[in-house]
Structure formats: C-alpha cells, structure tokens
C-alpha cells in the first residue's frame, strides 16, 4: 500500500521476476547467449534513476531477501505476480521457473500470485506439465515468451495450431490471464519481430481469456494500440513503459501514456515493475506524482486522475486475479454509503 496526500493506493506488481542468471547456471556452449541476455537486461536498468542501479554481479543473482525488501518493504507492493521465463537452452536450471518462484511464494502466503507458462512446441508432455502446474501452484495466469528458443525453433506465434490447442487447454484448466511478451525479440528473423497481430486473432477467438500485452508492444506501440482498441479483452501491461521511460525520457513517457489513455483507457492498463530490472519503489512514487507536462503538445490527451492511477497501480490487476482489496483501498464511488450515517439521520 502506498499513501500520498491522504490517498491510499493498493499496489499489484503484475509483472516481476526472481531469476538465476549467474555463470554457474549457464548452459555449456551457450554461455554467450546467457551472458548477452542478462547484460541486455542490465542495460535496461540503466534507464532508471542512478541511485537504483546495481552491479552486474548483484543483478545476475539477487537474493530472496533482496526481493522481499525491494518489492514489499520498500516498494509498497501488496501482491506481486510472478511471471516465469524458462530459457532452458541457455540457463541450466532455467532463468526463472514456476518452481523457483513457488519456493519463495510458498514461504509468504498471500503475497504472490504464482503464474506459470507454456510452450506450444512441447507437445503432449507440455500439456501435462501445464495441468500439473495449475494443479500444484493454483495458477490462474500464464506468461508466454513467444521468442523463446526451443530445440532448433526460435519462436512461435499465438496463431500456430499448437498454440490454440494450448490456449484451449489453459482455459479448460481455469487459466484466465495470458501475459504475452511483445517487446524486443529475436525471431522470426524475416518478419517484424514485434508483430502483435497474433494477439489480435487469439483475443478474438478466445473471448473468455484476457490478453495482457506486456511492454505494450514497444517498440510497436502503434500496432498495439490499434489492435487493443478493437479487442475488449486486451490489456496494456506497463512493464518497461514506466521503468524504461518515466525517468529516462519523461516527455516520451508522457506521450506514450497519453496514447495509451486515448486508445486503450485507464480501465485496461496494469502496472508491472519488471523487478529485478527496476525496483517498484521509485516507479510507484513517481507514477503517483506524475502529471502531463504543461505544454499544448499534450493537450489532446485524456487526463489521468487519482482514481485512474489507483486502477492502473493495482485495482485493475486485482480484478483480473480476483484479489481481495481492503474496503479503504477501493475507489470512493465504489464503496456504498455507510449504514451508520443513514441511521443518524433517521433516529
């Protein structure tokens, strides 16, 4: 919970990680990829305030204690949603697996939502694993990393027949939320690697599922917005948007927020810190304080008020994940008038 100027914000970090990326976890022969990957993430951290930068050594293997302090003690987060990314071609035990997340999550009941993942190229074994994970960890969401390397293949699309089989299975198992990474990818080589058109099709064909496009398709925000405005079950996952732009590029951040508010709307935007790339503390504080620059260039964008910020920081994700929000942290209009008041009047 974050409090500022008498307003209280319920905070759901809907996109964060606990990874193991040190050299001891690199696959023999794929070291350059494992190293390149984590160094690339580390470069993203440099877009945050200098005081929040870590050494590459800490960045590769921060501890559970670091996470609990940064996310919950200092970072105002009430509930954090773990989003796994396996990358087992490069990281022996996986970069960030459902099991690793659960090890921490199960020590702190109620503080984490344990999402799982699937890869449609894993065939029947993958379907079984998905069922097992949903049963074992109670997952109601999955993270899909469509650019993951897998036995010679370097990516898949949500429109692949196998992906549809998996989406149908996920829905049958009770999965509600599909977080899709649409940001920098490395495959397919010969197409626009950030293409979001597969999400468009899947969202139409699976209206019961919510599709949260993480990183809002950056650097293809125009394609994303255009698609999201036509699909009621597509959400804008703000991971990278706030962390990567709010501090480093405030004017661009204002424009991107303006476009998202214009095309997608504050009811369908969710905060995600992308921890450990960026700590939530400065993102939450900065976002609550944030306003459009006083400049005619921003005049045709919808404004974002306290209620909108409350929705984006936590209430929207709380709905998606059916999380209990204390009454005092709900929007004021949404709380029914207290009975006591009416009694006073009538007695």
């Amino acid at each position: 919970m974050y409090e500022k100027n008498g307003e209280k914000y319920f905070v759901v970090d809907s996109h964060m990680h606990m990874w193991k990326a040190g050299p001891d976890n690199w696959v023999k022969g794929a070291e350059q990829y494992a190293k390149g990957w984590i160094e690339c993430f580390h470069a993203y951290q440099s877009l945050g305030p200098p005081a929040t930068h870590w050494t590459i050594e800490k960045f590769m293997s921060y501890t559970e204690d670091d996470l609990m302090k940064d996310v919950f003690e200092d970072g105002y987060v009430d509930v954090a949603v773990f989003q796994p990314t396996y990358l087992k071609e490069w990281y022996r035990e996986g970069f960030n697996t459902t099991e690793q997340n659960a090890n921490l999550g199960e020590k702190h009941p109620g503080m984490f939502v344990l999402n799982t993942r699937f890869d449609p190229r894993d065939g029947d074994a993958g379907l079984e694993e998905l069922a097992h994970n949903v049963d074992r960890y109670g997952s109601t969401g999955v993270k899909l990393y469509t650019a993951e390397w897998n036995a010679g293949s370097r990516g898949y699309k949500l429109t692949d027949p196998a992906a549809y089989t998996y989406l149908a299975k996920a829905q049958e198992l009770g999965i509600k939320n599909i977080h899709v990474h649409k940001g920098p990818t490395i495959w397919p080589l010969d197409k626009d690697a950030f293409d979001v058109s597969d999400v468009d099709h899947a969202a139409t064909d699976f209206p019961e599922l919510n599709f949260i496009v993480e990183h809002v398709g950056l650097p293809r925000i125009e394609d994303f917005c255009f698609m999201a405005t036509q699909e009621p079950n597509v959400y804008a996952g703000l991971s990278v948007v706030i962390g990567g732009l709010m501090h480093a590029r405030p004017r661009f951040f204002a424009k991107v927020m303006g476009e998202l508010l214009f095309w997608v709307g504050e009811d369908k935007m969710t905060f995600g810190s992308d921890y450990g790339i960026w700590e939530p503390k400065w993102q939450v504080e900065g976002f609550v304080d944030w306003e459009f620059p006083d400049d005619p260039e921003f005049s045709d964008y919808p404004r974002l008020g306290v209620d909108g910020k409350k929705k984006i920081l936590g209430l929207n994700a709380a709905k998606l994940y059916d999380l209990k929000v204390p009454d005092e942290l709900q929007l004021k209009e949404a709380t029914p008038a207290a009975q006591d008041d009416s009694k006073l009047v009538t007695s």
Binding site: Q32, Y33, G36, W37, E39, C40, A43, Y44, S46, L47, R154, P184, T185, I186, P188, L189, D190, K191, D192, A193, L218, P219, R220, I221, E222, C225, F226, G244, L245, A248, R249, F252, F253, K255, V256, G258, E259, F262, W263, P296, E297
Partner: protein
C-alpha cells in the same frame, strides 16, 4: 580528413529502418577509417546484443552499398560488432548475399516488405510533424484533409515527408492531397481525417519513444559518441 567526411556523409543517408533516423546521428557508426589509397573500414554497433537481426542486416547492407558507390574507393570493409548474429550478417553482406542466404534455413523471405512497412510508418509519423502546427493554428481535421501539398509552405519536415511518400510510390507532387492512405495512396476523406491524424500522432510517438530507449541503451553499452554523431538532447 575530407575523404572520411565524404564517407560519413554517405553513411548519413543510411537509416535505421525502424527509427527512420540516420545511423550516424544515432551513434551506430563506431569506426570510420579511410586510407590514402581509398580503403574504407567501417564498424557498426547497436544498442543491444539482441537487436533484431533483420534490421541489423538492412543497415549493414545499406552501409556497404553507399560506401561502395563512392568514387575513388578501392576496397570496402563494413562489419557489425558485438551482436549475436554478427558473423552471419557480416559474411552475408561481404559476399553480397541476400538475407535469406545469410540465414540459411532460418529466414523465409527477403526484407523488402519489412522495409516498406517501416517507410509507411515514417510517412505517418511525418504526417503528424507537418500537420500538428496546422491543427494548432486552428484548422480542424476536415480542413487539413482538404489541403494539397501546394497549400503548405516549404519546410524540412515537408521535404522529408514527400521523399518518404515518393519512396513508397505515393503521390508527392504539388497537387497531391496532404493526407493520403499509406496503403493505397488515395486521399483521406474529411470524415476519416481525425482518425488518420490520431494514427499519425500515435505512430510518431511510437518511433520517438523507441529512439529514446535505443539511445539510452547505446549510451549504457558504449562510452563515447559514434563517428558523425551529433548529440541531440
């Protein structure tokens, strides 16, 4: 030095297709050396190890082509460094192979379509640049849709927009409508003008935000400005 400037000038015409900005001003040219005998060595660098190889290939191939086309150049050595696909890209460009041949079995189509997609985005972004001042001066979107190119004062932004339109084969003469559909070249009707301008604004925002991230990443990765780079605030 003059020879090196000529090469840098030529490289200035090579654009990052995604960002629609010159590879020199982006800081992507790390080395540019020209010997007295006309041997040119160019080294390129990108913001991350995983930048999309299709775009990387386009930039390396374009850089090779503009340098090779200069008079008095005896040999050309253009290579990308610090990238996961550098070996394939450099070998492919040096051997004058297309993208598909360079990525044997991995890529299934050439890059012309991709390039076209991004020039179309550049046209939309350029439309916002040209039209925003008009809207700010009080012309409503329907009024903007009624304008032709000849109605506008010349400006660098307009020149750039018309060059991009010509690249795509879209109408770019004085009688052409200011607002055209980037797919068909047809005039945008007054009723669709507000939406068209909204899309143009959105596209420009996307490109600018992306450029901002790329610059930040490049600065983190490399100390020092690139050859021919001007620091743009």
């Amino acid at each position: 030095m003059a020879e090196r400037d000529r090469v840098l000038d030529a490289l200035g015409a090579v654009r990052d297709p995604e960002l629609d900005e010159s590879i020199t001003t982006l800081g992507f040219v790390s080395t540019c050396v020209v010997s007295a005998a006309g041997d040119v060595v160019v080294r390129l660098r990108l913001p991350t190890y995983f930048c999309a190889p299709n775009f990387a290939f386009l930039m390396v191939a374009d850089a090779y082509d503009v340098v090779a086309a200069l008079p008095a150049v005896r040999s050309v050595d253009v290579a990308l460094e610090d990238h996961f696909a550098a070996a394939q890209i450099n070998a492919g460009v040096a051997a004058r192979a297309g993208f598909v041949a360079s990525f044997d079995g991995e890529a299934t189509a050439e890059l012309d379509e991709l390039r076209r997609t991004f020039v179309a985005k550049a046209v939309l972004a350029g439309t916002d640049q040209v039209c925003r001042p008009l809207v700010a001066s009080g012309i409503d979107p329907a009024g903007v849709a009624r304008l032709t190119i000849a109605d506008l004062p010349t400006s660098p932004a307009l020149d750039r927009l018309l060059r991009r339109r010509a690249e795509l084969g879209l109408p770019a003469g004085p009688d052409a409508p200011l607002l055209v559909d980037v797919g068909t070249g047809a005039a945008v009707a007054a009723a669709g003008a507000a939406r068209h301008l909204g899309l143009a604004r959105l596209t420009r925002t996307g490109i600018e935000a992306n450029t901002g991230i790329c610059r930040g990443m490049l600065r983190h990765r490399y100390v020092g400005t690139g050859a021919g780079e001007e620091e743009l605030g």
